[in-house]
């Protein structure tokens, strides 16, 4: 677990974000273009422009317990449109990482659970085994029959691989993952 600055001085959290991803949210002019174009803004408690401002205002606790960035689809629309060239999608992704690294309970459970199961599939096979991954996620999130009809329609069309494909040099992948296991 890492210590995330945010109380020591008024700029601590903003500076930490700069250190972690190189993006200075202090450059934000609150024009709102990011939030206007964000496809998932309706699902967020803090929209992208508000996230920029909350970082500037040193609101570490409020942000790292927010739902907002878990809904970010990483579509890059905000980043492409920002008139001050802030990579907003990168900041959103950085907040996801800091939540886990700082030992905060993520406000959304499903996204980090999905990420962990997805990565586990890569670590075990070298590639994603979609059927196994989705079944495991549905079970773990307490909705075993979610999309069952869709799954049946896909199987009838042989649209989804029934068995995993394991790559030959799986050791290479396992050795990369060994360094990151604590977040999975």
């Amino acid at each position: 677990m890492i210590e995330i600055p945010g109380t020591q001085d008024a700029h601590a959290f903003r500076r930490f974000i700069i250190e972690r991803c190189g993006e200075d949210t202090g450059a934000c002019i609150q024009c709102g273009k990011c939030s206007a174009g964000c496809p998932v803004a309706p699902d967020m408690d803090y929209m992208p422009n508000q996230v920029m401002e909350l970082i500037r205002l040193n609101q570490r606790e409020r942000l790292l317990t927010a739902h907002s960035f878990w809904f970010c689809a990483s579509c890059q629309t905000c980043t492409i449109r920002c008139p001050h060239a802030i990579d907003i999608a990168l900041v959103m992704n950085t907040l996801r990482k800091l939540t886990l690294e700082g030992g905060y309970a993520p406000a959304e459970k499903r996204m980090p659970l999905f990420n962990r199961i997805f990565l586990d599939s890569i670590r075990k096979h070298g590639r994603v085994y979609e059927l196994g991954m989705v079944s495991r996620f549905n079970l773990a999130s307490g909705q075993p029959f979610k999309d069952a009809l869709l799954g049946a329609a896909m199987m009838a069309r042989r649209k989804i691989a029934l068995l995993p494909h394991r790559i030959r040099h799986l050791d290479d992948i396992k050795s990369i993952f060994a360094k990151y296991k604590k977040y999975m």
Binding site: C75, Q76, T77, K97, L100, M111, N115, K159, I176
Partner: protein
């Protein structure tokens, strides 16, 4: 001419028909595809959400595998895989702060840069509109289609001249003899990354995109991403339950469309994998 091939996980499963038709189209355009031997997953957004170095290392591993086969260019039909290869290549640059760590993780001394292409810019830049046109034997005259770029093709990787209103795919569709409609949702995100974790979000986004294509008079959407295609094709049944009339909008891969224009029959283009069949469009 030879070009390396990174299909990515989706193309071995839910997007098999994309894989099969891309292989044929590339060959018909005079290129030989050489698949990266024993390639691994690019890590997709979950790896990115855990660690930047993890996601960079996974794709850097694939670049190293391509290097061993002597490949100097790589085509990836999935925009997410493509953008990860590109980010890994940037991370491996001499000036990148990530270079040393990535090389350490993948146990390599160096990985040389290669040309990275997605299907759209491969067709546009390496094949060229004129040469593509020359391969058309059955022009798709009278067909009206919505060019759906999705969100990730806008990344600098594909170097669209206008990222808000791109034209490459529209020009390719026109070269096949069909009409690409002017519509507002060309680059809107379909939310596929949230398909499993927040299905309600995805239904809203997919519904907006499909309604946009319908109101612009399109008979079908043309997709260039395995996640977009799966999402827009498969969620229609669920969306239709709350609509007075069904969307019934087929979502066709660009490679399937080209293959038909290059003379293949409907049954040879892999449409049996689709939930919304485009049969009626091709029979008109």
């Amino acid at each position: 001419m030879q070009i390396g091939y990174f299909p990515g996980c989706s193309l071995t499963s839910t997007a098999r028909e994309y894989d099969a038709t891309v292989r044929q189209v590339v060959q018909n355009c005079g290129f030989e595809l050489v698949e990266i031997d024993d390639w691994n997953c690019c890590g997709a957004s979950p790896a990115d959400a855990v660690s930047q170095e993890l996601v960079l290392a996974l794709s850097a591993k694939n670049l190293a595998k391509a290097q061993r086969q002597g490949l100097t260019s790589i085509l990836s039909p999935c925009p997410a895989c493509h953008s990860h290869l590109l980010q890994a290549q940037q991370g491996l640059a001499e000036t990148s702060p990530h270079r040393r760590r990535i090389l350490e993780l993948i146990h390599e001394a160096s990985v040389p840069a290669v040309t990275l292409r997605h299907l759209v810019d491969f067709l546009y830049r390496d094949v060229g509109i004129d040469k593509l046109k020359a391969t058309v034997v059955k022009p798709l005259t009278g067909m009206t289609l919505a060019s759906y770029y999705g969100c990730l093709t806008r990344l600098k990787a594909i170097d669209m001249e206008d990222r808000e209103n791109p034209a490459m795919l529209d020009e390719i569709i026109a070269a096949l003899g069909a009409t690409a409609v002017d519509w507002p949702h060309k680059t809107e995100c379909c939310g596929a990354g949230l398909a499993i974790t927040s299905t309600q979000t995805v239904l809203r986004l997919a519904g907006d995109i499909l309604a946009g294509a319908r109101s612009a008079g399109a008979q079908a959407l043309v997709a260039v991403c395995p996640l977009c295609q799966a999402n827009l094709d498969m969620r229609q049944a669920e969306l239709d339950r709350k609509r007075p009339c069904p969307f019934n909008l087929p979502v066709i891969y660009l490679s399937q469309l080209i293959l038909i224009a290059q003379g293949k029959s409907f049954n040879e283009a892999g449409f049996d994998k689709h939930l919304i069949s485009p049969r009626s469009i091709f029979q008109q």
